[in-house]
């Protein structure tokens, strides 16, 4: 692709630009435009997504330790190892719990924030920005703030200081898994980080709801508040809600950063990606087993996404309203 581009560049320097000509063969054809626009993305997709997946597929049938060019074929051994590994299978459970919790909470919180901000008479832009800003913070940075200053286990950690005012003993939030306070840390960090972004999506959708609907409802005697919210606002937000839930699920699948940084050296609270990293890719360098696990995960994600599309009707466009 890039060679073609270069040749064209040389051949059509602005100085030579001739008066309008009729569109010429290849350049004018829709196929040319199609490849011009999709080509770079297809190449990127092939190099950075499909090639690694195929390479993983190949690796997963080999004993690939400390190398990505192995030569010892082991058949399905790596798959058996990963699927009989309690930790890996358990991490799928961890993810389910995490997703079941974080998706509805973020959905509710961002919708709530959107309704509040949308109702504001003044300083709306200010609050919109304030709630949106955390989106710009990196997960790693936020995880470190949560770990080292807010939920630090020592007496001068923010939460422990507050609890200390009420005479409550220091809590080692992230170190002692019993009771599992670490979920509080992870969930609050994620809520803070991502709610603002989904709030913006909801605000946009709220502003798209025509006022006539509310006026008509008022004339028909609907009480403003819960009734209009339940029968007008919520149904009107259906398309946005579906998209938000799908995006949230994908984000939950990709959970890695905050788990990795907040819960180092644990055997609990590991979503599949973190588990894979520890089991196979990080220190143990077992790329065969790691690839097998990654492919199992890929298949699962595809299945769940397709199923969700079927149930929630995402992508059916206008009908879904």
């Amino acid at each position: 692709m890039s060679t073609t581009t270069k040749l064209d560049l040389a051949g059509s320097a602005p100085a030579q630009a001739a008066p309008a000509k009729p569109r010429r063969g290849l350049r004018g054809s829709p196929a040319y435009a199609f490849w011009l626009f999709t080509g770079p993305f297809l190449i990127g997709l092939a190099i950075f997504v499909y090639a690694p997946i195929l390479w993983s597929l190949w690796l997963s049938f080999f004993e690939a330790r400390f190398t990505v060019t192995p030569d010892k074929f082991v058949g399905f051994d790596n798959y058996v190892y990963m699927l009989t590994n309690d930790d890996f299978v358990g991490s799928l459970g961890t993810f389910t719990v995490f997703a079941a919790f974080i998706v509805p909470t973020t959905w509710a919180l961002s919708l709530g924030l959107a309704l509040l901000v949308n109702r504001m008479r003044f300083m709306r832009a200010f609050f919109r920005s304030v709630f949106f800003l955390p989106t710009a913070v990196s997960y790693v940075a936020a995880a470190l703030i949560w770990k080292m200053s807010i939920f630090s286990g020592v007496r001068f950690g923010l939460m422990n200081t507050v609890l200390g005012w009420f005479g409550i003993e220091n809590i080692a939030w992230l170190i002692d898994p019993n009771p599992p306070w670490y979920w509080l840390v992870i969930v609050t960090a994620r809520l803070w980080l991502q709610s603002g972004f989904y709030m913006i999506l909801f605000i946009a959708a709220l502003q798209n709801i025509p006022d006539e609907l509310y006026e008509a409802a008022a004339i028909d005697g609907a009480k403003s508040g819960w009734q209009t919210f339940r029968y007008i606002t919520l149904p009107q937000l259906r398309a946005t809600s579906t998209a938000v839930i799908l995006l949230l699920l994908i984000a939950a699948y990709q959970a890695f950063d905050e788990f990795f940084n907040l819960l180092s050296k644990t055997t609990w609270g590991r979503p599949p990606l973190v588990e894979l990293y520890y089991k196979a890719l990080g220190e143990s360098q077992d790329y065969g087993a790691g690839s097998a696990g990654a492919l199992i995960l890929t298949v699962l994600i595809c299945a769940v996404t397709l199923l969700q599309g079927k149930i929630m009707g995402f992508g059916r466009g206008e009908e879904s309203k």
Binding site: S12, F66, S152, G153, V154, I175, K265, T267, L281
Partner: protein
């Protein structure tokens, strides 16, 4: 020339130019930033990888040594990451792998051909090295790494706090637990062994009279003494006398220096920083006996230089290792005693290192010699992780130690089978 067609061409050209730039930029990004620097004309370029030492001046020191070397242009990668192992291992698989790097002796790197045989540069001075440091780097008669520093690890305690609480220096794990309880007050926790307690795993095993692997490279840690030790650690973990969730890990003496705890597990390297913060109000003691039949122990950790056998400049890298870590004794002494305290693995240097001859430093050297256990090259990262999981499951969580150890056995045996057949 109609205006509209002109605009049309302009737009297309702009688009093409933008795409060409984007493509070229992408390709350039692939080739650039390989950490090898510009090359100052002296020919060979070498890259070395170090984990970030906590002591001030260490990074500058390593770069100063590198700059003094005339035969090649040596660039340093200073990895400020909690998991240096992962960074190193994955870097070694790529084209940007460092030519030389520091690490601990682990046999899988030898078996997979990642580290070069350094026997020829070490052999002439072999007798001047601590024999244990040679042994721990030797596989089948070949020596694969040059030890730079030995780092004994033990407990540091505040003399005044122990006196005030009328606590003797503990020699058994039970006494340590009792001491931790007595030393815990409203603001100070009795004991700190790191947030994950992982740095005391090996000492706890040795002090229980067990070992990681035996001479025949079979599991030697799964003993009743170790099970009892794990149960005691669990008791300690839930006692409320341990400092947990501290901002710094146990390799950093800050928690001890700031008075967050009365006793902390740390390493010899921290001595100068502790001396600065606490004056003479501190002492050291080895890991106490886990069970009565055991013996106190000290982990003689440390760092060694290795040469990437798959690198482009193996010979030049070996030359550099020889120049700095074998020939340049004044740099070796500087590295061992000017920042943190480390014991030089060279016998001749250890004899002349005056800073290690008095006070607590001398006591550290005594513990190193009397109670020390060195790295076992057959004990690899995957096995280390397996025992860390035992601590996570049975000390921080309440899994039955036998069950957790069985699980570790499976993982360790899988490794052993791959390494030794």
């Amino acid at each position: 020339m109609s205006a509209s067609s002109n605009m049309n061409w302009d737009r297309r050209n702009v688009l093409r130019a933008a795409m060409g730039l984007a493509a070229a930029g992408g390709l350039a990004a692939c080739g650039g930033n390989n950490g090898r620097g510009g090359g100052s004309g002296s020919g060979t370029n070498l890259t070395q990888m170090f984990h970030a030492y906590g002591e001030a001046g260490t990074e500058q020191a390593i770069k100063k040594y590198a700059k003094a070397y005339k035969e090649a242009n040596v660039t340093t990668q200073w990895i400020t990451s909690a998991d240096f192992e992962s960074k190193l291992f994955s870097a070694l698989l790529t084209k940007n792998a460092p030519d030389l790097f520091e690490f601990h002796p682990q046999i899988q790197m030898v078996k997979s051909g990642q580290v070069a045989d350094l026997t020829d540069i070490i052999d002439p001075v072999k007798d001047d090295f601590n024999p244990a440091d040679i042994k721990s780097h030797t596989v089948d008669g070949k020596i694969y790494g040059v030890r730079m520093i030995d780092d004994p690890q033990f407990f540091f305690y505040r003399k005044s706090m122990l006196e005030k609480a009328k606590v003797e220096v503990p020699t058994t794990l039970d006494e340590l637990m009792e001491a931790a309880a007595k030393l815990t007050t409203g603001k100070v926790k009795g004991l700190y062994m790191g947030n994950d307690l992982h740095s005391v795993i090996n000492p706890m095993i040795w002090s229980a009279g067990a070992d990681t692997l035996n001479e025949k490279n079979e599991i030697a840690y799964h003993t009743p003494g170790v099970v009892e030790g794990i149960k005691k650690m669990r008791k300690l973990f839930t006692s409320g006398d341990l400092l947990l969730g501290a901002p710094t890990e146990s390799w950093d003496p800050s928690s001890f220096n700031q008075g967050l705890c009365a006793i902390q597990f740390c390493g010899m390297w921290a001595m100068p920083a502790i001396q600065d913060a606490l004056g003479d109000d501190w002492g050291v003691f080895p890991f106490p006996k886990t069970v009565d039949s055991g013996k106190q122990s000290v982990y003689n950790g440390g760092w060694s230089m290795f040469v990437n056998a798959k690198g482009k400049n193996v010979d030049a890298a070996k030359e550099y290792v020889k120049w700095l870590w074998i020939d340049q004794k004044q740099y070796q002494e500087d590295w061992a005693t000017s920042y943190g305290f480390h014991i030089p693995p060279r016998t001749s240097l250890a004899k002349t290192a005056d800073k290690l001859k008095s006070g607590n430093a001398a006591e550290g050297v005594r513990l190193f010699n009397e109670f020390g256990h060195f790295d076992n090259i057959g004990w690899t990262q995957a096995m280390i992780t397996a025992l860390e999981d035992v601590f996570a499951n049975s000390v921080r969580k309440s899994m039955d130690p036998e069950k957790a150890l069985d699980k570790a056995d499976a993982a360790v045996n899988r490794e052993l089978k791959k390494l030794f057949g």
